[in-house]
C-alpha cells in the first residue's frame, strides 16, 4: 500500500459503498425520497378526496360573507362581514387574552415565587400548596373550574354582585365603568408623554453624573412627582375631560359600562392562575440560584435590604429567570387556544371551529391557524431573546 502526499492511502482499498461521503449522500437521498414520497402521497390523496367531497380549495372563501356572529369583537364585525374579517377578530381576541393574562400572571407569579421564600413558615407553605395544586392539574380542568364552578354560580343581572369602583358581576360577565375621553383629553396626554421623556432624560443625566463623580443626584423623586403631578394639573386645568359610563343596575337588567364576557374573564383567570404557578417556580429558582455570599457581601458593603435585592440579587436572578419566562409566555399564548373549550371566540374557535364547519376547507383553516401560532411564537421568542441579551452576563 503506497502512501499518498497527504498521508492517506492513495489507492484506497475501501469499496465505494463504504466511503463515508457516498454513504451519507445515499442515505440523504433515501431520506429526501421518503419525505417527498410521503408529501406526494398526502397531497395526491387530499386532492382526490376533496374533489370527491366537492370541497373548494384555495383562499377564495376569504372575502365571502361569514354569516355568523361573534360574541366578543375588538374591531367592528357583524354577520355580514367576510371570513377574512372573522379571522382578524379571532386573532385579536387571542392576542388580547394572551397579553392580559401574561400581565397578570407575571405579577401573581413573581409575588408567589417570593412568598415561597418567605421566612414565615405559613406563608411559604401556603405558596407551596398553591404552586403544587395549579402546576399539577390540567389547564382544561382549571378552566372548567373557573368557568362552571365559580362564574357559573353568578347571579342574574337583577341580583348583580356589587364590587367597589362601580363594578358589577352577574351572568353577563364583569360590567366595568367605561371611560369616555373628551376632546381636551389630548392636553393631559401630551403633558404625560413629555414628562415621561423629560424623566428619561433626567435619569440618563443622573447616570452620567454618577459615572463621573460617584454621587448620584436624586432625580427619581423629582421625576416621579413630575410625571404624576403635571398631567394631573393640566387635566384639571383643561376642565376634567374624562368621564365614566357607569354600569347601572336596573330592575331586570344592568346596562351601560363595558362588559367583559364570562368566557373572557374565566379564560384570563384560568391562564393567570395556571401560568403564575410555573412563573413562581422560575422566580424562586432564579433567586435561589444566587449564592448566599452575594447577599452577605452586599450587607458587608453596607447596602440596605432593599438595595441588596434591587441592585445585587435581582439583576443576577433575572439572568436565570428571563429565558424561563420566555418559554412560559410562549406556552401561555399557545394555551390560550384552550379557550375553545369554554366558548371564548379566539382564533382556534372562530377559524378552525365555525369557519371550518361552514366551508369544510380543513387544510386551509388548520394551516393558517398553525402558521399564525408559529409566527406569534417566533416573534415572542425573538423579542425575549433580544431582552435576554440585554440582561445577560457580559463576558469577555
Amino acid at each position: 500500500m503506497s502512501v499518498g502526499v497527504e498521508g492517506r492511502p492513495s489507492d484506497s482499498k475501501v469499496v465505494f459503498y463504504n466511503d463515508p461521503r457516498i454513504r451519507s449522500l445515499f442515505f440523504q437521498l433515501l431520506l429526501l425520497g421518503l419525505i417527498v414520497a410521503l408529501f406526494w402521497f398526502a397531497y395526491d390523496n387530499t386532492v382526490s378526496n376533496l374533489r370527491k367531497r366537492n370541497i373548494a380549495q384555495g383562499f377564495a372563501f376569504w372575502d365571502v360573507e361569514a354569516g355568523f356572529d361573534i360574541s366578543q369583537t375588538l374591531i367592528s364585525y357583524s354577520a355580514a362581514s367576510s371570513y377574512g374579517r372573522a379571522f382578524w377578530v379571532g386573532l385579536l381576541n387571542t392576542m388580547l387574552v394572551s397579553l392580559v393574562s401574561i400581565f397578570f400572571a407575571t405579577i401573581l407569579g413573581v409575588i408567589i415565587g417570593i412568598l415561597r421564600l418567605s421566612r414565615n413558615w405559613l406563608v411559604a407553605k401556603l405558596a407551596m400548596v398553591y404552586v403544587e395544586i395549579f402546576r399539577n392539574v390540567p389547564l382544561l380542568l382549571i378552566l372548567y373550574f373557573w368557568y362552571r364552578g365559580v362564574l357559573g354560580l353568578l347571579p342574574e343581572p337583577r341580583e348583580s354582585i356589587k364590587l367597589p369602583a362601580d363594578i358589577l358581576l352577574n351572568t353577563r360577565g364583569l360590567l366595568m365603568p367605561k371611560p369616555i375621553f373628551g376632546d381636551a383629553f389630548i392636553y393631559p396626554l401630551i403633558a404625560f408623554v413629555s414628562t415621561v421623556i423629560l424623566g428619561a432624560v433626567l435619569f440618563w443625566w443622573a447616570r452620567r453624573v454618577q459615572a463621573r463623580t460617584g454621587n448620584r443626584p436624586n432625580a427619581g423623586l423629582f421625576s416621579t412627582s413630575m410625571i404624576i403631578g403635571l398631567p394631573l394639573i393640566v387635566f384639571f386645568l383643561s376642565g376634567s375631560p374624562l368621564s365614566f359610563d357607569v354600569p347601572v343596575q336596573g330592575r331586570f337588567n344592568a346596562s351601560g359600562g363595558m362588559t367583559l364576557p364570562p368566557e373572557f374573564v374565566s379564560l384570563v383567570i384560568g391562564l393567570t392562575t395556571y401560568t403564575a404557578a410555573f412563573i413562581a417556580e422560575n422566580v424562586r429558582a432564579g433567586i435561589v440560584a444566587i449564592s448566599k455570599g452575594q447577599t452577605e457581601a452586599s450587607q458587608a458593603l453596607g447596602l440596605s435590604h432593599g438595595q441588596t435585592i434591587r441592585l445585587v440579587i435581582m439583576p443576577q436572578a433575572l439572568r436565570v429567570i428571563v429565558p424561563l419566562l420566555n418559554s412560559e409566555y410562549l406556552s401561555l399564548t399557545k394555551n390560550s387556544s384552550l379557550g375553545v373549550s369554554i366558548g371564548y371566540p379566539d382564533l382556534v374557535n372562530v377559524f378552525t371551529g365555525t369557519v371550518l364547519n361552514q366551508t369544510g376547507q380543513a387544510v386551509e383553516m388548520v394551516s393558517v391557524t398553525m402558521l399564525v401560532y408559529l409566527t406569534l411564537s417566533l416573534l415572542t421568542s425573538a423579542f425575549m431573546n433580544w431582552f435576554n441579551r440585554r440582561v445577560a452576563l457580559v463576558e469577555r
Binding site: 451519507s24 442515505f27 440523504q28 431520506l31 429526501l32 419525505i35 402521497f41 398526502a42 390523496n45 387530499t46 382526490s48 378526496n49 376533496l50 370527491k52 421566612r119 414565615n120 413558615w121 405559613l122 406563608v123 401556603l126 399539577n136 392539574v137 390540567p138 389547564l139 382544561l140 380542568l141 372548567y144 368557568y147 362552571r148 362564574l151 357559573g152 354560580l153 353568578l154 347571579p155 342574574e156 352577574n170 351572568t171 364570562p262 368566557e263 374565566s266 399557545k334 394555551n335 387556544s337 384552550l338 375553545v340 373549550s341 369554554i342 366558548g343 382556534v348 378552525t352 371550518l356 380543513a362 387544510v363 388548520v366 391557524t369 398553525m370 401560532y373 408559529l374 411564537s377 417566533l378
Partner: protein, 353 residues
C-alpha cells in the same frame, strides 16, 4: 508619656453573664423563629390562621360530615327534599365509578382493561423502581411486548377468542391512560431519532428534523389535534377511514416526539466530545457508537426531563376532550348531563352550550 496613650478606662470587675437564650429547641422556639419572627410576620400569621379557620371547618363539613355517600339520583342529594343541609354528593361519583374508569366498555369484558392496568403498572414499576434489576428487559417489555399485548387485550381479536370492542366504546380513565401510554411508547424512540437527526452532519436529516421539531413546538397541541382529526383522513386514501381514537393517538405521539427530541438533545449535548472521539477511535460505527456509548449516558442525564415530559403528556391528554374523545374529563362532563342526576340549579354559564 512617650508613645503610651493615657489610660482612660480600666474594667475593674467582671461583667454579669448574659441570661441564657429563652429556648433553642422545641415547638415554642420553632414558632418564634418561623411564625412570629417580627411584628409584620406575626400579623401575617394571625391573619392566615384566621383565614384558615374561616375556610377549613366549612370544607370538612361539606366534604365529609354532611356529604352524601350513596345516592341513586340527584333527589338523594337535594337539600330541600331531604330537609337538612347537604354537602358534596359523593353518591354521584359512586354511582358513575365504572363509567368514569371504563366509559362504555362492555361490563362483562371489563376484566380486559383491568388486566391492562395491572400490566402497565407492573411495567412502570419495573422501569422506575431502582432496586428491581434487569432494566434492559423492562425496556423491551414496556416498549415492545406490552403495547402488542395491550392492543389485542383492549381491541380484541377473533382468532384469539377475544370479542372485538370498537374504540368508540372505550372511555374514561382507560382512554386517558391509553393515550398517555401510546404517547410515551412512541415519543421516546421517535424523539431519540429526531434528536439524533438534529445533531447529524447530514444536511437533509438535520434540516428535516429541525423543521419538524420547531414547527410542532411552535403550535398549540389543540391545533395538532384538529389537524389529526380533520386533515389526517384527507391525507390517506378514501377507503382507509382512520379510527377517531387512532387519529388523536397519531397527533399526540407526533406532538410529544418533538418535545422529547429537545429533551434528548440536551442530554446529547452534555456528553463530552471525547466520548464521541474515543468511540470513533475504537472503530465503532455510528449506530454502535450511539447505542453503546452515547445514548446510555445521555438518556441517564435527561431522565428528569423525560419524566417531566410524561407528566405534561398525562396532563395534556385532557385536551382530546375538545375533539370529542371520551377521556376521563369528557365522561365526567357527559355524566353531568344524565337526566337522573340533573342539577337542581342551572349554571349561569350553561346557556352558552
Amino acid at each position: 508619656m512617650s508613645g503610651q496613650a493615657e489610660l482612660k478606662f480600666i474594667r475593674s470587675h467582671f461583667s454579669d453573664p448574659l441570661p441564657p437564650p429563652m429556648r433553642t429547641s422545641g415547638i415554642f422556639h420553632w414558632a418564634r423563629e418561623n411564625l412570629f419572627s417580627s411584628v409584620f410576620n406575626s400579623v401575617l400569621t394571625i391573619l392566615i390562621l384566621f383565614g384558615l379557620y374561616q375556610v377549613i371547618p366549612g370544607m370538612i363539613d361539606r366534604l365529609i360530615i354532611t356529604a352524601v355517600w350513596t345516592a341513586n339520583s340527584s333527589k338523594d342529594c337535594n337539600a330541600e327534599l331531604l330537609g337538612h343541609p347537604v354537602g358534596v354528593c359523593w353518591g354521584f361519583v359512586n354511582a358513575h365509578w365504572g363509567y368514569f374508569v371504563f366509559g362504555q366498555y362492555p361490563e362483562h369484558l371489563r376484566w380486559r382493561p383491568e388486566l391492562f392496568f395491572v400490566l402497565e403498572a407492573l411495567g412502570l414499576a419495573w422501569l422506575l423502581v431502582p432496586s428491581i434489576p434487569r432494566k434492559d428487559w423492562a425496556m423491551i417489555y414496556f416498549f415492545i411486548i406490552f403495547p402488542i399485548v395491550a392492543f389485542f387485550l383492549l381491541n380484541g381479536s377473533e382468532t384469539l377468542g377475544l370479542t372485538p370492542v370498537q374504540t368508540h366504546f372505550w372511555g374514561g380513565f382507560l382512554v386517558s391512560i391509553v393515550i398517555g401510554t401510546v404517547g410515551i411508547v412512541i415519543s421516546v424512540p421517535v424523539g431519540i431519532l429526531l434528536a439524533l437527526g438534529r445533531r447529524s452532519h447530514m444536511p437533509v436529516a438535520r434540516s428535516a428534523s429541525v423543521v419538524m421539531i420547531e414547527f410542532i413546538r411552535g403550535v398549540p397541541l389543540i391545533t395538532v389535534l384538529f389537524m389529526a382529526n380533520v386533515m389526517f383522513p384527507l391525507f390517506v386514501p378514501e377507503g382507509w377511514r382512520p379510527d377517531p381514537l387512532l387519529r388523536v393517538l397519531v397527533g399526540v405521539a407526533l406532538f410529544f416526539s418533538a418535545y422529547m427530541a429537545e429533551t434528548v438533545r440536551g442530554g446529547l449535548q452534555a456528553i463530552p466530545r471525547g466520548q464521541y472521539e474515543a468511540a470513533q477511535a475504537l472503530g465503532l460505527s455510528y449506530w454502535q457508537m450511539m447505542v453503546k456509548i452515547i445514548l446510555p449516558q445521555a438518556l441517564k442525564i435527561v431522565i428528569p426531563g423525560i419524566v417531566n415530559n410524561f407528566i405534561g403528556l398525562l396532563k395534556d391528554t385532557t385536551l382530546v376532550a375538545i375533539v370529542n374523545i371520551f377521556d376521563f374529563l369528557k365522561v365526567i362532563e357527559a355524566s353531568l348531563n344524565n337526566p337522573v342526576w340533573r342539577l337542581s340549579q342551572r349554571l349561569a354559564t350553561d346557556h352558552r352550550h
